[in-house]
Symmetry: C2
Subunit: 220 residues, 2 copies
């Protein structure tokens, strides 16, 4: 097993982006890449990239750069993407449907096995070929199928209850899209996705761009 | 106009989270809060919080803490959330529908005015009361209605083309959900949302949790 010191969340959040660009390079048949070239692609500084990858022991050779395939495989292993994950989605509304359709196209190892709902109109239907089942049967299903990840696409008010049920049933991770921070026992990892935070960040950058435009026009 | 130095993206990304918690405190009628209390709520360290807020001149008083209302309003103004944004969605598939339904519930000042599609089966329908229009009419609509933000919910292969069209028509910001990094002219802000990166980050934390569990059981 790989020995790792505790790595900061900020670094972990950059790894998928490195991996995505490395994957594009692999597809183009590129063999090696320097941290400067990775910098131009990803928008992070070269020193940031070298520092990030040093957390994992480097992989680079001075004067040669990084092996694209090697780095891609190492980052995949670090991120735990060298195995398959079984997932269930709770909530078959628009968001749940979007997630099911989205993950379907990853083709990477994250497989939605079942969808759970309380709405009787949806129970018994299929989304992308995947059964929509009764929420009452969630715990039994997760236990029996050894589900790894629960994806929460419910409203804010029931999200924690759904999370508790999924943890009780034995998932190891929760991917939460309800607009609330879910809490889990220490052995269950959780990612709370707050889509609105990215919209607010956009608004900030837009207002800054607007200020720059005004300042420029005043200087004229 | 507020005078600001350039603030790092990492800080900007934490502000919406501060704001979200402050909003919850406001609703509960809480008047003031210390950086230690904010730390417990948000999970960031108190010194991180003080440092972040110092970027904007502080707002805190020693021994008193922060005014919840004051800090909420200041962060809202910094993020540019003290005004209304007109938005269009391009792509009325599951993701587009989820976004329309999601933003509908923000009730904050981000309003979807129209949705654009190429699929003739969808053109002419309504989602959440909002018209789905022909993609061919996008530029004219954006110009006429002074749309601020374009939300891209298309496939990867057409996303940049859609972005170019939106920029040409005069939007100031793009919120991109297609799994590719969109490029824009300097005066147009862009947020590329990569939902899969958050899933990969979850997988990492799950594999770390798994390692800790194995290490623990081996020690026994």
């Amino acid at each position: 097993m790989r020995k790792q010191a505790k790595i900061s969340n900020a670094v972990i959040r950059r790894l998928p982006r490195y991996r995505r660009y490395l994957n594009e390079l692999r597809k183009k048949g590129v063999d090696k890449i320097s941290s400067n070239e990775l910098s131009q692609l990803t928008g992070y500084t070269a020193s940031q990239i070298r520092q990030d990858l040093n957390n994992f022991g480097g992989f680079g050779q001075q004067g040669y750069g990084y092996s694209v395939d090697g780095l891609y495989n190492e980052i995949s292993a670090i991120l735990g993407l060298d195995r398959e994950y079984k997932m269930v989605v709770v909530g078959a509304g628009h968001l749940g449907q979007a997630i099911v359709n989205h993950t379907y196209y990853y083709k990477t190892g994250f497989v939605v096995n079942g969808i759970f709902e309380v709405d009787p109109k949806l129970i018994g239907t299929k989304i992308n070929g995947i059964d929509v089942m009764n929420y009452e049967d969630l715990v039994e299903y997760v236990e029996k199928k050894n589900i790894d990840i629960g994806i929460i696409c419910t409203t804010k008010d029931v999200a924690q209850e759904v999370a508790d049920k999924l943890c009780f049933a034995g998932v190891n991770g929760l991917w939460n899209f309800a607009p609330v921070d879910i809490e889990t026992p220490a052995h269950v990892a959780v990612e709370n996705v707050h889509i609105s935070e990215s919209l607010h960040s956009l608004a900030y950058h837009m207002s800054r761009t607007g200020e720059r435009k005004q300042q420029r026009s005043r200087k004229k």
